[in-house]
């Protein structure tokens, strides 16, 4: 994973709450064995609608998704994160996220920014008023900014998630440095065995 310090770009408002991962990437896309190419499936149930916000020319090329409450709930499919990133998103702003989605996002370098509802509403208003505005998500300073409106708001990120983003750490590599501790744990752990004989 590449380090992520600051992401900036235009933003697109998705004015729906409770966007579950089935909406982000429907299950028909989950049959694929690759990690790439999921951008075409992003929000695919809604993309046929010419009025859907991603189809509006004013928002073409936006890289920051401004969502609402409970974004990414439901299924654990990491394909939701792959789809958002493959489409071109580098950050998602919302007032809350599904736990597994947020974990998956962190593992891939997709920044999830949690803002209080009133700040999210203001950011949405600014983006709608002028879709060409630059929005900046600063992982280092933990700030969301709209420079031309001199608007900014702090956000919190789990300290470890922030470090992981800033350094682009390979989590498996980090864990393997604890190989001795894992081996020591295995030698003393009360290990319920996984059976090799099964009830009929």
């Amino acid at each position: 994973m590449n380090p992520v310090r600051v992401v900036e770009g235009r933003a697109v408002p998705l004015e729906r709450s409770d966007v579950d991962t089935d909406q982000i990437i429907p299950s028909e896309w989950l049959k694929r064995v690759e990690r790439t190419g999921f951008g075409r499936g992003l929000f695919s149930e809604w993309r046929d609608d010419p009025d859907f916000v991603l189809n509006q020319p004013a928002y073409a090329g936006a890289t920051i998704l401004v969502a609402q409450a409970r974004f990414g709930t439901g299924s654990s499919r990491e394909h939701a994160v792959w789809a958002l990133m493959d489409y071109g998103f580098t950050a998602v702003v919302a007032s809350s996220f599904g736990d597994i989605f947020a974990n998956n996002a962190a593992s891939q370098g997709l920044v999830t920014v949690t803002l209080p509802a009133d700040a999210l509403e203001e950011l949405t208003r600014l983006v709608k008023a002028d879709p060409s505005r630059l929005v900046v998500v600063d992982v280092e300073r933990l700030l969301v900014e709209v420079p031309d409106a001199t608007w900014q708001h702090p956000f919190t990120l789990n300290a470890l998630t922030r470090e992981r983003l800033l350094h682009g750490w390979d989590t498996i590599g980090l864990t393997l440095r604890h190989d001795d501790e894992i081996a020591r744990f295995e030698s003393t752990h009360w290990t319920p065995r996984v059976p090799t004989r099964f009830a009929p």
Binding site: L30, R77, V81, I100, T171, I172, H178, I182
Partner: protein, 466 residues
């Protein structure tokens, strides 16, 4: 210091808690399936990594398998490729696989417990959000993404931020006709789809104690629908009695294990970060009306009006849900007709679920124009049900009796709703398009699903004799 069950499980599995890194937990059992694992194995190969503990990993094919007889080839080439990838990966890395048609194959959360692999005191993960099911055994079990699957394959550990604890207590005894599904729908409605975020929920109280292991699995299964990654129920006699049938060891070994397993309960007076209580007496047979699993109404109730929703965002979400579902506020739920009835999924496809449905169906006929299907959760469930003659009960009534798999719960295989079709489904998610593009899903218990199939509209078992 008294500890909750979650805290005991966390402490017992803590491998390391390095500064500036998340605590590292040991994973006792890793379940994998065809959909969320291929990219993880590719990652291992790219980095020349091995599977650290193949003997702690079990694989099955469940999400995309057709529910036709196993002799029928998989016609969808993309699904077939994914199933082949699972075969190849398990062979290459030495992992036990129960493929399509195998006597032990089934939905991953159904076979774990019935094979005796799911045991109290374990940590269990799977690339599937309904891994919370296994928490019914006093095991810490939660869903993970594909990168985490790769992490567990490579290291048998997982970085895990300590969760907050929540006790959900159901005091008293449920009224007749109220099933585990109705209990958990009430819990999800109460907490909302985000209410359990960041928490592990422990279910407690008389109504939970009264449930069989199968009912407890239904409850823990839908923890994620309230936003919680894991659900837990402490070990008691019901747990031990189930394990005696499913964990194949000699009597002495079993006694030793059982003594240990019984310690997996919360200590008296252990404090929870949040406590929620529901009265069992208040619970009723329920059905979802909208497009998220917290949008629940009594089977006796009517489609709610968005105008009654005080929060404008929720009112807008409700209006959008009603438009998608094609429902008018004020319509009695019992007047809503269905096209399809699906009895299956990791929530409600176990023997007890099929018995409850069969009891309603016995000697009756599915309503004209309704497609009704039963998809047992595993080959073992299917065999047991057939030995009791349940397949005949369903087939004689006009139900389809299919092969095990996730099937219409998520519509990855050919079992799908067509646009505009309405289902009564014993599964766990009523999201837009979940069971097929444009499909409209209502979540119900197996008994209500069965009665609905017979009446062609939402109905309770007490109505079918009328």
């Amino acid at each position: 210091m008294p500890r909750t069950l979650y805290e005991k499980l966390f402490d017992e599995h803590l491998v390391a808690s390095p500064p500036d890194e998340a605590p590292l937990l040991y994973i006792d059992l890793h379940l994998i399936h065809e959909v969320t694992s291929p990219q993880a194995f590719d990652g291992l190969r790219l980095a020349s990594r091995r599977v650290r503990r193949p003997e702690r990993t079990l694989a099955t094919a469940d999400h995309n398998v057709p529910t036709d007889p196993p002799s029928t080839p998989v016609s969808d080439p993309i699904s077939r490729r994914q199933l082949e990838a699972l075969d190849e990966n398990c062979r290459e890395f030495g992992i036990t696989l129960f493929p399509r048609g195998d006597e032990h194959q089934g939905i991953v959360h159904v076979i774990g417990p019935e094979l005796g692999a799911t045991q109290p005191g374990m940590t269990i993960v799977c690339g599937d959000s309904h891994t919370s099911t296994h928490g019914a055994f006093g095991a810490l079990a939660f869903g993970i993404g594909t990168s985490e699957v790769e992490h567990v394959l490579a290291t048998q550990t997982l970085p895990h931020q300590r969760a907050r604890t929540m006790a959900v207590t159901i005091d008293g005894t449920v009224p007749p006709g109220v099933s585990a599904k109705d209990i958990v729908l009430a819990i999800v409605a109460r907490l909302g789809t985000g209410g359990g975020a960041g928490h592990v929920i422990e279910y407690r109280g008389q109504a939970i104690r009264d449930l069989s292991m199968e009912g407890r699995m239904t409850i823990c299964n839908m923890s994620i629908e309230a936003g919680a990654r894991a659900g837990l129920i402490g070990v008691d006699d019901t747990t031990i009695d189930y394990l005696r049938e499913h964990v194949i060891v000699d009597a002495d070994e079993f006694a030793r294990l059982a003594a240990r397993w019984r310690t997996y309960v919360s200590d008296d007076d252990a404090p929870f970060d949040r406590e929620v209580t529901l009265r069992a007496e208040d619970l009723v047979p329920s059905v979802t009306w909208g497009t998220n699993p917290a949008q629940v109404v009594a089977l006796d109730g009517v489609v709610p009006s968005p105008q009654d929703e005080p929060d404008p965002a929720q009112a807008e979400a409700a209006a959008r849900a009603l438009a998608y579902m094609g429902l008018e506020p004020g319509t009695p739920m019992r007047a809503v007709t269905v096209d399809v009835v699906f009895i299956g999924s990791c929530t409600n496809s176990r023997l007890e679920d099929l018995r409850a449905a069969a009891e309603v169906v016995r000697g009756r006929r599915v309503a004209d124009g309704v497609r009704a299907l039963v998809v047992p959760g595993s080959h073992a469930v299917k065999r047991h049900a057939e030995s009791e003659g349940l397949d005949r009960v369903f087939l004689d009534a006009g139900f389809e009796w299919r092969e095990p798999g996730c099937s219409m719960c998520l519509g990855m295989n050919p079992d799908q709703l067509r646009p505009g079709q309405r289902s009564a489904s014993t599964s766990n998610r009523n999201f837009e398009g979940r069971q097929g593009r444009g499909g409209r899903t209502h979540l119900v218990s197996p008994a209500v699903a069965a009665a609905t199939a017979l009446m062609g509209r939402f109905a309770s078992p007490t109505e079918v004799d009328a």
